[in-house]
């Protein structure tokens, strides 16, 4: 790996192997159904929305 020498032999900051997150792009990519999904999510986080508890 052609990394700079300063990166070698140091303790890392990413403590463990990371897991792949769900690919968000698939949920919000424009298209027939996902567009509707995007609108729904936008509505869910709009200012003034109150939870029903």
């Amino acid at each position: 790996m052609p990394l700079r020498p300063a990166r070698r032999g140091r303790v890392g900051v990413i403590r463990a192997p990371i897991a792949k997150t769900a690919v968000v792009a698939k949920a919000v990519t424009p298209g027939a159904a996902p567009v509707a999904r995007t609108a729904v999510v936008a509505a869910a986080v709009k200012p003034g929305r109150r939870r029903r508890i």
């Binding site: 052609p2 990394l3 300063a6 900051v13 990413i14 192997p17 990371i18 897991a19 769900a22 869910a44």
Partner: protein, 152 residues
């Protein structure tokens, strides 16, 4: 770093953005958006690495300066802090698919620093943080809708 500057440090985050084989389309748009965030004082870029994982799972890491013509990113590259260590590379690459390339970006959220400092001065301490995936919001809405339908 002095005690005072540590107190004023904003939260530090990272992302790993994967480009599957054949899917990359670099137009300079990402660099422009990143620089806009830096120029507006929203973030400070701490470190950048480019990772590649071959079909056999072997990982290689490159410095941003090794990419070649950096264009707008040249000034940014000179300010990087090289926070990531060699041992971080394998941990970050664990999420990558074979045959892909990924950009790793580490940044300080300058926008959050004043609030974080105020919280600390007020006696508060961070005990949890995280990100809510869009999928979780969709699932919550679906469950909410299902309950509403059942109640009708």
């Amino acid at each position: 770093m002095t005690e005072q500057s540590l107190d004023e440090l904003g939260p530090v985050d990272y992302v790993v953005v994967e480009f599957p084989a054949g899917a990359s389309n670099f137009t300079g748009e990402m660099a422009s958006e990143l620089l806009a965030l830096v120029d507006s004082g929203t973030i400070r870029v701490i470190d950048i690495l480019i990772l590649t994982k071959d079909e056999n799972g072997a990982v290689e890491a490159m410095e941003l300066s090794d990419v070649g013509e950096l264009g707008e990113l040249e000034a940014l590259e000179a300010q990087l802090a090289e926070l990531l260590a060699e041992e971080d590379v394998e941990h970050l690459a664990a999420a990558m698919e074979p045959g892909s390339t990924a950009g790793v970006l580490i940044w300080e959220n300058l926008w959050a620093a004043p609030f974080a400092s105020a919280a600390r001065r007020s006696g508060g301490q961070l005990i949890a943080n995280g990100r809510i995936p869009i999928q979780a919001i969709i699932a919550s809405i679906d469950a909410d809708d299902a309950l509403t339908t059942e109640g009708e």
